[in-house]
Symmetry: C2
Subunit: 219 residues, 2 copies
């Protein structure tokens, strides 16, 4: 007998949330409380609710707000995953987004009591994730890497003010390889996304100027 | 009263099909036969059928096969369009794909009698398209342009064998700007996607060597 789900596919949104901790890229995983795939680690996600969501992107932001207590202004779509077998509830469409979270918001996030959370290293394979979330996480990582390769600066991952060395280390953490300092600084000179502030931090060597994202910056 | 469609969103696939005609980029439009939006020009598209489609990509290929009689091995996902108002039938998710069609398949395509067809210039705004298909077409064009900017060669748009001049003109048609011949040829030298054949064509000037896509080529 055909059920409603066989005529109308299940539509879900999943979000890969990335941050930088101690110069390492980290992705947020949640332990699922409910079936299907209860107890398994997964990307935060949820079913689209047409009665309250205005778009898939709005659904992704709602899921982050309600499941991990974080209110992100911007999520970026990666791609879809679909078919009859990826979710035991039936034919499903998962729309994958990624979000970049500054380090100084991570503390608030991990205090949330909604579900068990952990930050994992997405640059190495993570086995045993629910559904096709291992594949989804690799796709989201690849999307962020492509953005940085295409010279988009991952400013959403940084605190409000940061040094150029911090920015370079963040790019290196995403790409998984060292960058030439001279070439990196020359590339930044042409960036419209970055503006110098009047503030400096005192480091082991000479004071380093602090920068911030320009008002027009969008990832 | 809540209808099924308000609980289960409508899921459709839309496809922007591009080709090159006389060194100009062209996009395929179909005149809709049925409501909603009957008689208006639109991208070829259709509703996902979970009982026969194995994935959204398979649904997109089925739509091209049944609506415009073309069997394309490969379609590329662009992004989704979603919300309560973009389709009068209710809350909907449209998943947009693009496909690149070689010139020598265009003749077979336009002889199909399934619906009225035309090829339009996507590099200028086209007003009056059904649904949000004007916006979708601009998104698909931007996706193809980004691929070519990222040095991916649009070999799917060319006949089986082609000259480097034809390849350059195809890239120029997509990007909407002239490319420097010397820089373009240097870029091709590093390409793994292109192999030289033993064939030449005689032109107005000296004979030009013909090239083809390598076996490992994927767009």
């Amino acid at each position: 007998m055909a059920t409603k789900r066989e005529l109308f596919p299940l539509v879900v949104v999943d979000v890969a949330v990335f941050t930088i901790e101690q110069d390492q890229l980290r992705a947020l995983l949640v332990q699922r409380a409910l079936e299907p795939e209860a107890k398994r680690w997964a990307l935060p996600g949820g079913v689209l609710k047409p009665d309250i969501d205005d778009s898939l992107q709005a659904a992704a932001r709602r899921v982050l707000r309600t499941k991990v207590s974080v209110d992100l202004p911007h999520v970026e779509e990666v791609c879809t995953f679909s078919g009859p077998t990826r979710d035991p509830r039936g034919w499903s469409v998962a729309v994958l987004f990624y979000a970049l979270l500054p380090r100084d918001k991570v503390h608030a996030l991990v205090r949330s009591k909604v579900e068990a959370l952990k930050w994992a290293d997405p640059t190495h394979p993570i086995s045993g994730l629910a559904f096709d979330h291992g594949l989804q996480l690799r796709s989201a990582l690849h999307a962020v890497q492509s953005k940085v390769e295409a010279q988009t600066l991952p400013l959403h991952l940084l605190p409000e003010k940061f040094t150029l060395t911090e920015l370079q280390r963040t790019c290196e953490a995403i790409l998984g390889r060292p960058l030439d300092k001279g070439a990196f600084r020359r590339r930044l000179k042409n960036s419209q996304e970055l503006i110098a502030t009047d503030d400096f931090v005192r480091g082991a060597q000479r004071p380093a100027q602090l920068y911030k994202a320009s008002d027009t910056f969008t990832f």
